[in-house]
Structures are given as C-alpha cells and as structure tokens.
C-alpha cells in the first residue's frame, strides 16, 4: 500500500462572522480541513478558504492583528490557492469604498457600494443568477445561469475586466466571481447556495490544485 497523505484546506478565521456554515459544508463534502487564525498553522495547509462577513475596515484590522494580512499575501505569492467568499472576495482587492479601507491588494480593484438607485434595496440579499462569462474549473458541472445566495452591500470591481469570471444583475451587471492565477473569489455564499454551491466548493477542494478530500478515492 502506498502512503497517502491527505491534503488540507485551511479556513481563515479572523472573527469576521460565523464559520459554522462553511464548516458544515466542508464536513458534508468530506473535506480535510482545518479552521485557524494562526498563520503558522495555516501555512502548513495546501489551499485556503477565506470567508468573511461584516465591515471591511474592521476586518482588515483583525487580519493585521493576527498577522494574517502579510500571511495571505505570501501564501498567494507562493502560488497556493485561495478562495475568497463574500467580504473575503472584496478585501482581496486593493481597496474598499467601505470606510475607505486599504485592502490586501492581491488583485488591483475596488469594492464599490450599491447605489440603491431605482428602488433597489441594499443590501442585495437573496438568490440571484450567476452568469459565468468563460470557462472556469470553479463552475465545472454547474448549469448555466444557476442561482446562488447573496448578502452584501458592496461588490468587487477588479480593474482588469479579464479577471471577471461571472457577473450578476442587480441594477448593474456587477462582478460576482473573480479569478487571478491561483486566486478565486466569489461574492455569493456557496456554503448557503444549495446543490450548486456545494458543487462549487467541491470543485475548489477536489479539482483545483491539491485534492483535499479525506480518504482514498
């Protein structure tokens, strides 16, 4: 029998919202994962999930407090995979309009606030269609224009439109998923998006970079 080393997904915990639903989704998918706020522990994982809800400035403060801001930049520079979710998809950008916050700058761009024009309620909350704009491993096996669950008042706007891999309509066609090399970011919550959300997480943990599923298969 050959030696089998299970690869691990690290979930970045920086007190930015409840990680329970990410955890139960990873359990359900059989992922080998570790939730931590310690950069040294997370550095030993093979890829990261970077979630977050709340306010961008406060989130950046906590990342700095735990030494996770430099860690995330280094992890990205090393070519290891990161999946940002919700607020995590905004603070990978250069900056956020929210309290005019400087962010991680893994992708040049800005998180912008929905204007609320035309009577659209802010936050954008509920299920909305995600139009995938090109080929992407992240959306493999997911039917075109499937719905995902969103809760957010700001949306990512990468400077380079080539980085946009999906768009969603809410008064404007905003960017709902980003890819830059080894970095993926989704504005919606795959862990709360039913079957296709689970499929997306499965794609990330099983098929993008090292396979992080428990056991032999």
């Amino acid at each position: 029998m050959e030696d089998y080393k299970v690869k691990r997904v690290g979930v970045v915990d920086y007190d930015a919202g409840n990680l329970k639903s990410v955890e139960t989704a990873l359990e359900y998918l059989g992922a080998d994962y570790e939730i931590s706020k310690d950069p040294e522990t997370l550095a030993r994982t093979d890829k990261l999930i970077f979630p977050g809800v709340g306010e961008a400035g406060a989130a950046m403060d906590r990342l700095r407090h735990y030494g996770l801001d430099d860690f995330l930049r280094e992890f990205f520079r090393m070519g290891k995979y990161i999946l940002g979710i919700c607020l995590g998809a905004q603070i990978v950008l250069s900056k956020s309009e929210e309290t005019d916050t400087g962010c991680l700058d893994l992708i040049p761009g800005t998180a912008l606030k929905f204007s609320g024009e035309g009577g659209l309620k802010v936050p954008h909350m509920g299920w909305n269609t995600v139009h995938v704009t090109g080929e992407s491993l992240l959306f493999k096996g997911i039917p075109e224009d499937s719905s995902f669950y969103f809760v957010h008042s700001y949306y990512p706007s990468p400077d380079d439109p080539e980085r946009v891999i999906a768009r969603t309509d809410y008064g404007l066609q905003f960017c709902s998923a980003i890819c830059r090399d080894n970095l993926y970011a989704v504005q919606f919550h795959p862990e709360k998006s039913g079957r296709w959300g689970l499929q997306l997480l499965h794609n990330y943990i099983a098929d993008i970079g090292p396979r992080c599923i428990q056991g032999r298969d």
């Binding site: 809800v53 035309g118 309620k121 936050p123 909350m125 269609t129 969603t168 998006s193 079957r195």
Partner: protein, 268 residues
Amino acid sequence: MYTGEGLKMLQKRVIVCLDVKDGRTTKGVRFKGNVEVGDPVEMAAEYYRQGVDELVFYDITASAEKRGIMIEVVRRVAREIFIPFSVGGGIASLDDMRSVILAGAEKVSVNSQAVKNPEIIRQGARIFGNQCIVLGMDAARDSSMPSGYRVFINGGRTATDLDALEWAHRAVDMGAGEIVLNSIDADGTREGYEIPLTKMVSESVNVPVVASGGAGKPEHLVQVLSEGKADAALIASMVHIQGYTIAGIKDELTKAGLPVRIDSGVIA
C-alpha cells in the same frame, strides 16, 4: 403578470415556516390549537430537496428548560441543508442569539422580546451584523392606528401601543436587516396574504420584507410578491398539510412572470 423592474433579477424567495414545539413541527390556525405534523429535520430536508429558498424555525415552546431541544434541532438542520435558515421564538438575549447562530442558523428572529427591549436589535446587529437580525412582527388591522395596523406580541395575544409602520421603521433604523411581517387577520385563513399591509411596509423600508399569514394557494404568493411588493413569501400549511410542493408553487410563480430560483436538490 409581474411587471417589476426588468433588470432586477434578484429572485423572489419562497420560505417555509416550521413551528417547532418540544422538537416536533406543528402548524397552528390563528395561533391556537397547534397540531403536530412531523419531524422538523426530516421536513426541512424534504423541502430543501424540493428547492425551497429558505427556512424559518419558530420555537413555540420557548421555555428555558426546553431550549436545548431546539438548539439540537438547529444543529441537525445545519448538517443537512445548505440554504439560509432563521430561528425565532423566545430569543431574549445576546446569548440566545449566539447559541442559535453558533448552532448553524444564518439569522435570528426577534418579535415580542424586541418590543419589550428594542436594544436587543441594536446589540444583535452590532455583534452579528444587520443581515443576521430579523424583526418578526405580528400586526392586525386597527383603524385607530396611523398606518391602520397595530403590533401585537406574545403570539398575537397581547396588543401593544405600537403602530406597525412606525415600529418597522424604528427596528430597521436600529439594525434589523429583514422583516417577517405576519398578518394576524390573515394567518391560518388560507384566503390570501394581507396585501395592503405588506405593500405599505415593503415600499417604505429599505430591507427585504417577507409576507406571512394567509397563504392557501399559489395565486396568493403571486399576488403578494407582485401587487404586495414582498421580497419573499412565507408558507406553512400549504406544504405541511395541503399537499402543495415547492416545485409546483414555483412553477406557478414562473408562469406569472415572477423571477424565482428553479434549480433544486442536493448532491447525489
């Protein structure tokens, strides 16, 4: 036909409400005479497979000693369904909020306790975020109130001095991220939602409004989601007792031109 803004593709949500007493689901008529209809976790999983967009669990026991039973239900639900769900009933403190959120609920719903102690909305929103805090409101027609509707608490049994529209505004100002608006007049009748109430509140607050009370057939959802301007419609007995399926209901909504999520099911 739905004639909402053409570009607005945010979908109208169909939400199933499960009243849970001592760990079992019940459905009451006008808040009285609850009859048991099943295991909440099994029922939640079935509606999830059918494509429900969200679930609401109300703990109608809400006595301190039975609290743990509900938390265990929430934990089991969180392990099986991967859509948002909220928990309400007897949420009286930040600790109560924390325990259901840590058990896996996306949101907590406060109703009578928010009337008695509105600060719980502000404190909850500050700690867990506005999107976590749902105001549940029971309102009944009352021509002596400015908006024509009075707020009731304690499961609809106790009148308050609050006007429904004023209370909605105040709760949103304090941080409520959503309102579940239940009409006492319509609840349990299966004759349709209270459209004027729903429309009035939904048009005047900038958070989603979930219409509740009175659903008996798909046309009622069509009406409240279009004419009533609701962002979501809560149903219970239609699926628990009357035999409608989520897919069947959504089919009717689609035919009426309403944007709804049509994919469903879990990974095989």
